[in-house]
Symmetry: C2
Subunit: 144 residues, 2 copies
């Protein structure tokens, strides 16, 4: 049985705690402003980026690392308030083409007004990125 070294354990524990704390502060900021949760932002942003092409649910799943049923229900909620729309796919009868509505674009912008500064205060202000390696670079190693 291969156990983790102390430094690995420390990294893991800190990853969990940091994520929990930072995410909570960002989600709180959105909630306090009466805005939807972060997951909605991710969806809206991806749809905005793929404007024209018409992205499909299974592509979003892969990008956002969500299970199929999770994406299905997330889209349900976002569609219900008319921030996105679902149309049947032309070339594939199983699928849908997702698109963002005008209201969706506005919502994403409104969210960013809160979201952006929240990231800045929870992450940006805490880091002196110039000295030495970048944190994001190190974190990316965990994705390989």
């Amino acid at each position: 049985m291969i156990l983790p070294e102390p430094s690995t354990k420390r990294t893991w524990v800190t990853l969990l705690r940091t994520h929990r704390q930072v995410l909570a502060s960002v989600e709180d900021a959105l909630k306090s402003a009466g805005l939807p949760p972060l997951a909605w932002y991710d969806v809206l942003l991806e749809l905005e980026r793929s404007k024209g092409q018409g992205i499909r649910p299974f592509e979003l799943q892969k990008k956002l690392l969500l299970p199929q049923y999770g994406m299905s229900r997330l889209l349900d909620r976002i569609e219900k308030v008319a921030l996105i729309s679902r149309k049947p796919c032309d070339d594939d009868g199983r699928g849908q083409q997702l698109s963002i509505t005008k209201r969706g674009v506005d919502m994403r912008k409104n969210m960013w007004r809160i979201y952006g500064p929240a990231i800045q205060s929870a992450v940006g202000e805490k880091l002196s990125l110039t000295e030495g390696k970048e944190l994001s670079e190190l974190l990316e190693k965990l994705q390989e």
Copy 2:
């Protein structure tokens, strides 16, 4: 409005993705082995560490960054299968003293047999911690 710099955004996005991916692989390992989720491990470990003293729910909440009601319901589930026990507090009628049972100790050990190697393969093997700064050190800055 103070927006985040590109490097801050990259760090944030990578923190989210890395956490999601690594946590999923560890939780999957536990589930595949028919073991309880990670949150249970944290509770069992803290109770084991505080053995003798008798820790209280509100202390656990602070350590594990959970809301009060979240802790209450988590303890309900763990108690239901007799891995911990709750007794009324001697000196404070509002509170409880938590303790881990023999079964709880066994369970924590069993979980570690899966959990430990899972951390090692998801984190330990991906990092070359010797070169330059440690990742956990950088992540800790986000908690200040």
